[in-house]
Every structure is written in C-alpha cells, then in structure tokens.
Symmetry: C2
Subunit: 293 residues, 2 copies
C-alpha cells in the first residue's frame, strides 16, 4: 500500500470543511505525517488513519497552524499506552516539544533525513519563513526480473539471488549479466513543498514526481499578496508542476476565502490539466506507473 490521506487542507485558519494542514502517508507498514496542525489527532480518527501506528512526523516550518496539533497528538499517544511505539520527530529548530521518552527529535535540515524499508525522505529549503522546508518521499528503485528471459537462459533457484549480489552468474560456462535478465523499476516519488513562494529548486526536487502536493493560498488575482507573504498562487503551482513534469498536481493550503474552489482549479488547469484540489479526507493511491513495466 502507498496511500496519501489529506487530513487538513486549510490555510492559517480552519473552516467547517477544512482542518489545519496535515498529510498522512501510508507506505506498507510505515505511517508518516507531514505537518500536524491543530485538530490532526481527531482528523486521524475521522478518516480512519490509525494514529497509534505513526512512525515519524515531519513539520515543514515553524508556523503554528502547521504544528500545534503535535502537542495534543503526543499527549494522546502517551495516554493511550503504557509503552507507546517510538515516534521520530523532524522539527524546525524553532519548535520545542516536551521530551516524551517515546519520541526522538531531530532538526529538519537539507538532505536525507529519514529512511525505512523501501524509501527515503529528504528535505529541501523553500522560501517562506526562516527554517522552511519541503519534503521528498522517494521509493527505492527495484530490480525486476524478466522471468521468461531468465528461465530461457537457464536461471534457477538460488541463482536469482546470486545474480543480484554479484551482478552475474555462470551457467554452462557462459556468464549471464544481471542487466540481461532484469530491468530497473524506478521508485515512486511524492513531493510536498509546504508553504512557499515558487523557486527553481522546487522544480528540480519535484522532477518527474508521481505526485506534487503544492500550496495554493491565493488565486492569481492576488499574486502581489502571495509574493509579499511568500506564498503561491494556483498558477504558480501549475507552472512548477508543468516545469517539473510531474504526473499529478494536488493543490492544498486553501485560504478560507475560497469556499468555492473552481477558481483555483480553472486557473491551474489552464497551465497544468492534471490538477486537483485537496479536500479533507481525500485519499490518493500512488500506483506504479505503467510505462516502467
């Protein structure tokens, strides 16, 4: 399973329909949160993402609407079990969290900050407030055998692991190379830029991503305000998505002024058609792209 659940999609202030920012990523047995706004623990219940199994929480930047819920969630984890499962916290330096014995706190910094079975997460700086980062979830590439070809060449049993370890095996005195019988399935990639003004490094980080989650605090008529506040418009988001050649763009961090999201959607889709606007509870399964197979 590789599933994204939007837990909160509002900007700065919650609305009846949208809670404050948080995104859950379920990858096989791992559960991660990107941001943890006020009310996240209740959103986790509402959208049936079990908070008891969270492995790590990553906060993009030290604005209260993106992290206040962390305190309530950690308190609940402490109360819910005599020995809560360990949770790694990746926080901007400005945020101090009470030292629970089941948490391990690290500062978010540029580069790889987390890895687990099958993927890594790295952070990249964005232009917003001091200590603002975006995150890249990169699934590891996998060696996939062309089973017909491998069997035709005589590969059997242990030889499949041998060829992966050594890069070749000998069958009837003939060396068969790994690349002759296999192909590389590139890992899936999702990118969340947090709150940010557009910048060229985001395009590089999001290159060819399966999913880009990008803020759209303003529509394009408020481009000046977006720029002044180091936020982005729907058009900014779409331009980034287009230049990065991502497979899908999801707009989030929607200002309460947009009760109707058609404006944002139409502005973005003119530039990048494969755009949707996140809603609270929306789930997206990140499937393996067919062209890699």
């Amino acid at each position: 399973m590789f599933r994204i659940t939007f837990l909160g999609t509002s900007a700065s202030v919650p609305t009846l329909e949208r809670g404050l920012p948080s995104i859950a990523i379920k990858y096989e047995s791992q559960l991660l949160l990107w941001d943890c706004g006020e009310g996240t623990q209740r959103q986790l219940m509402k959208y049936k993402v079990g908070y008891g199994s969270i492995n790590a929480i990553f906060i993009t930047h030290p604005h209260l609407d993106h992290y206040l819920g962390l305190f309530g969630l950690l308190e609940t984890l402490k109360l819910s079990s005599p020995s809560p499962k360990p949770v790694q916290l990746f926080l901007p330096k400005a945020i101090e969290v009470r030292d629970y014995d089941f948490t391990k706190v690290s500062a978010v910094k540029k580069g790889k900050i987390f890895s687990a079975n099958g993927f890594t997460i790295h952070a990249f700086p964005v232009k917003h407030t001091k200590g603002s980062y975006g995150f890249v979830f990169q699934e590891n590439a996998k060696i996939k055998f062309n089973e017909k070809k491998a069997h035709d060449l005589g590969l059997e049993g242990k030889q499949f692991s041998q060829i992966q370890e050594r890069g070749f095996v000998k069958i009837k005195n003939k060396a068969i190379k790994l690349e002759d019988v296999s192909w590389v399935q590139s890992g899936r990639k999702i990118v969340y830029a947090g709150d940010c003004a557009p910048s060229s490094n985001i395009i590089e980080e999001a290159k060819d991503a399966d999913l880009l989650i990008y803020e759209s605090t303003f529509d394009s008529s408020l481009a000046t305000e977006a720029k002044e506040r180091f936020h982005s418009t729907a058009e900014d988001a779409a331009n980034i998505a287009k230049q990065a050649n991502v497979k899908k763009l999801i707009l989030t961090h929607i200002s309460p002024r947009y009760s109707d999201i058609d404006l944002l959607l139409s502005q973005a889709r003119k530039i990048f058609p494969k755009t949707d606007v996140a809603t609270d509870g929306m789930t997206i399964d990140i499937t393996q792209s067919k062209k890699d197979k």
Copy 2:
C-alpha cells in the same frame, strides 16, 4: 440571552463525537469561554458561537487537553482583524501564552476575578493538579418593582429611580420604602468545577445554583481509579449536586471508554434525578426560576 453551549465534552483524548473541553457562556452582549481544548476554534464555528466576539477565556487547570486550543484561537483572532477585540485571559500560573497586544493575561486565583455588566465570576480551588480551580458565574440580583403596588401608593416617573437611590420617597408626607413596593430577584448562578475530586467547598460554591456542570470521568465501578487520579465518578457528581441543592446537573468530561452514556446517567440519576450528560453542541438556556417572581 443567557445560554451555555458545550463545545467539547471529552476527557483527555477526543473522540469522533466529543471534542476536548470547552464551554461557551453567552450572557447578553458578553461571550466567555471556560476551558479551551484543542479544536475549540473549529467547534465555535460548528456550533455557531461567534469567536470574534469573545470577551474573556478562563482556564481551569494546566492540563494540555484543557488549554491547547487557546494558542490556535488567539492566532486566528490575530489573523482575522487588523485590530482584534480585546480578550482577557485568566490562566493557571503554569501556562505561558504569547503576548498578543489584544490580550490581557491574569492569573486565576481564589475569589472574584472578572465582572461585566450584570454578573461576576469568581474562582474557587479544587483538588486535582496544582493550580486547579472551578468557576462560579453569578448574575447580579435585581430590584423588581411590584408595579401595581407602587402605582397604588402614587409612585410616578422619576420617583422610581429616586426610591432606588435613596431607599425611600415621600409622597403626600408619607415615606414609602423601597421594600414596600419592590422585591429582589436573585441572580442566576452557574458553576463549573473543572477536573476535580469531590470536596466540601464545591458544595458550598454550588449552593442553590441554577446549573452545576461537573466532571464525570469515571462511572462508579471505577471509584478507586477516580480517587487516585483526583477525578470524580457519576455518583460523586450527583452527591455534590444533591447536597448543593442545584436545580440541574450536567455531567461532562466523559472518558472515551463510555461510548454509551446510559451507565453514567443511571448512576447519577439514582441520586440526583435532574441530571443530563453533555454532548458537543448541546445548548442550555438559563431561565429565571419562577419561584423568584
């Protein structure tokens, strides 16, 4: 208008049905909050209690589930207006809140801490954690004229204000005393004990209250646990209500273990029949008791 709205009624951890503790009191033009757990700002929206008009917020004790929402709510007030309406905060000493220029912070202490047109609020210590208080909302008593009697004795126009100022007026050389033509309507009173173990001073504070809002974290089978944790059972609540001779008891701070509240309700009603269990969004209008009229 004198209306209570329960914004959050869960204990420690929210559930799908119950948010974390907060109670709104609307008295004429004043809006007050007692406690402000995580998510309160969104509950204020959901239950149509306008947070833009809050005058004062009172926190019973320094446990996170009772005050985390304060930070989000204040941030929202700051963002919502270039010059937010002043808000007075009454906090346990252990809680530090960022100094917004529209807030005035005072420590909760025993005795009268707030008054506005028509009422006062005082705090009384309860047994829970260090710095735990309950609150009494006491409406001022009002002088009510027996209009028929006053007119029969010849009172007219300005004499109604004169008799209130001086205690008497002279009509045809006869002194008419205020008490001859009026009666005192006692003020309405509501009491919220916060989190607490039962104690005799709560009975005194709640004496003859129109409404007692009292925690019921445990049912009576868990009396030992309640005692150890300085909480109360449904029976404790009912005993306090009965001894205090209140008009109505509402149980709140319901542990997530009670998805069905019939157990709590039946235990309490055996002792004090005029008991209900709060639900999120429940409103109660505090009407003037008929016997005073």
